[in-house]
């Protein structure tokens, strides 16, 4: 086939470029990429990297929406680029930028240190007064007890919610949606007894009270985790617990 014959539809990608060793400030570079019905934005980036410009930098791995590494801003919205089809944005142009609210390492690669630290801070592991020996078998947990926290356990740490969060953008200290949802995931797990240990941080100024309930986090979450819901629930629990602490006794049916 001649190049004329293969010349099909194309679409323009406007890609954020920043290289710490070379650039004082970021810029945008435009590329024409072939348009294919089944391509996602990530496919277009990979095509560019393979065929046109090997210097383009971004993270990706699974290409099936589960490893959480390919999040970028696509036309101003945080998206998993392996799940954002070119066809959604036609006729283009399509603007691709690093996730908002994070320092940029290079091109679309952001610095995740802050989140990794916060994730550890909320103690996302089973805390129990007493471990049951493995020989005694599994902890029993009914399907409905599982349902209490299942949704909050679906987080792939993709950071789209942070990129959408107006509070995190201005307040670095804020623990943020995904880490708070994960804290809640363990707090609500019938096998866990670590609620009290997580409370201090979660109920602090950097925790749930920083959230102004904009709800954008839940709107952009590709896994329907609903971090805003998790934060809201935690606020209700914190408030109840605050009032209960003034009562001389725990009313029947209100203890955990």
């Amino acid at each position: 086939m001649t190049s004329e014959a293969t010349a099909t539809r194309t679409v323009t990608l406007e890609v954020f470029r920043y290289h710490p060793e070379r650039d004082d400030a970021p810029s945008f570079q435009s590329y024409e990429v072939p348009y294919r019905e089944e391509w996602v934005v990530l496919d277009a980036l990979n095509w560019l990297k393979d065929e046109v410009d090997g210097t383009l930098s971004y993270r990706w791995s699974c290409r099936m929406g589960v490893c959480g590494s390919c999040g970028m801003m696509v036309n101003g919205r945080p998206r998993l680029t392996c799940n954002a089809f070119l066809r959604e944005f036609m006729p283009g142009p399509i603007r691709v930028e690093p996730l908002r609210g994070f320092p940029v390492e290079r091109d679309m690669v952001t610095v995740l240190d802050d989140f990794m630290g916060k994730l550890t801070d909320v103690k996302p592991w089973m805390i129990r007064e007493q471990e049951q020996p493995v020989e005694e078998g599994e902890y029993r947990q009914t399907p409905s007890q599982l349902a209490d926290f299942k949704q909050f356990s679906m987080c792939i740490n993709c950071m789209l919610c942070y990129a959408a969060c107006p509070v995190y953008e201005h307040e670095d200290e804020f623990i943020g949606p995904a880490a708070l949802a994960l804290a809640q995931r363990y707090n609500l797990d019938s096998r866990d007894q670590g609620n009290a240990q997580r409370q201090e941080l979660i109920w602090s100024d950097e925790g749930i009270w920083d959230c102004t309930f904009v709800g954008e986090c839940s709107a952009v979450c590709p896994k329907h985790v609903d971090p805003a819901g998790a934060i809201q629930q935690a606020k209700v629990e914190a408030t109840n617990s605050f009032f209960l602490s003034f009562l001389p006794f725990t009313p029947p049916g209100m203890g955990r």
Partner: protein, 586 residues
Amino acid sequence: MADDLQHDLLIVGGGGAGLRAVIAAAEAYPDLDIAMLSKVYPMRSHTVSAEGGAAAVIKENDSLDDHIYDTISGADWLADQDAVEAFVNEAPGEMIQLEHWGCPWSREEDGSVAVRPFGGMRIRRTWYAADKTGFHMLHALFQTSLKYTQVTRYDEWFATRLLVEDGRCQGVAAIELRTGVMRVVKAKAVILCTGGGGRVFPFTTNAAIKTGDGMAMAYRAGVALKDMEFVQYHPTGLPGTGILITEAARGEGGILLNTEGRRYLQDYNLGEPLDVTDPSHPQLRSMELGPRDRLSQAFMREQEAGRVFEGEYGTYTHLDVRHLGERLIDERIPFVRELAKDYAGIDPVHEPIPVRPVVHYMMGGIDTDISGATSLPGLYAAGECACVSINGANRLGSNSLTELLVFGRRAGHAAAVWAKEHPDFDSASIEAQGAEEQARIAAAYLRPREGGERIAAIRRELNAAMESGTGVYRDQAGLEAATEAIAGLRERGANLALDDHSHSFNTELTAALELESLLDVGEAVAHSALARTESRGSHQRSDHPERDDERFLRHSLAYRTDGAPRIEYSDVTITKWPPAARTYGS
């Protein structure tokens, strides 16, 4: 090379196997200084995409012997039976341990863990967390690992070479991706948990990071790669993308249909179909729940007979789950629905899913013993990069995730003990080797070069050679062509021209290093396949269609040389289950 990075134990790889090894060592020896180094953040590791489940005997109606027998027969008798026994015996405890660490296993009404049927297993024993089992296991392990403060993490560091001195592995050379600086990480013992190398093929369920780096590092250090000819094709991938539709779809009752609407597996010695409304459907170890090698081979035969659909992205048959109904689909295999909708544009509640065989898993890997030790003192391996071997000529679905736990833990313990017994380093020589590696990489890739080759071009040709030579059915001519092509690509691969000669997060450089690994892995696969003139499990030679226990009830061992690899063989350990015919479908 800046400051001195030095630990008792270094684990390379942060997937299921690596994390399990880290936790095992940290629990057993709280004073041990442990480090984990991974080219991606641990929770991005490919274990995350495992869907269907993890096998372990837990229910009353099951027995350890049954799981052992299923695994050995599934492996077409090439598994080491002492390893399989250890695996099956330790599996239940490992799975319960993971439950105690918070893994949200799906449950029965009474609160006990639920199990589902899986291919090649005669009893239901596959634990699952809906159809995101690997995701939940990985996150539970990673989050649990965060509580061990004695563990140093090197996230987004890319290991390129094992550092060997005095005949002992004493660390790795690795690039810190953020700065692009080559660093030496010294350790008294190293465990490779770097996963598989499915990316050597063009059409695969494997993520971009699955490039066999650990296998290649061990191979270059003189350790044998074992049973590399055994590559698993999963029978149900989405055409085009290769995205996996989990075996759980068939475990829950999904059926495979050809263009005539026939459940064609009945024509390939896999049993008689029961009607989907029959309460005994799906039948275990039969039809759609046969082993993967046999199902993928059946597809190829149907293709030859012209009974497959032709699509834009190749041929396919239908995986039909419609009769399960929307409620069950959403409860048990929601991810299947999500993936089919997003990437195949169909809703499995209303339409059959187009599927075809896709490269999925490497049974072969770094030759280890039952505690994860390799022939190189101080070097251990576990997980998909290792070959113990419990998988032999064909892995049973849902044995791999469990393998990560059992052998991750074993390797963690064994390596920790070694580290305690060998406190010394040869620092100067290790540093010198690191400097040498840095110089090698800079000279090969970080200088402008006129008229060099593009990475993508070599990778594409390698992929094509593997697909045409080492596919589901192989023969001598095809394999010879593949080995010649790979030798040629090796030469051309020494003349790559990169666009990017900078340091910070240079992913073109990592792609070049990954291509080096792929070439090593591809070479070992093709040569091992050429040498094995029999058919067994996933290795089918159309010119040698019979299994030949006399000559080949043996593991192949590929050793790297300057030319073609040297292939040797070692015995398979048989304890109680003498080789027999492999039968499916009662």
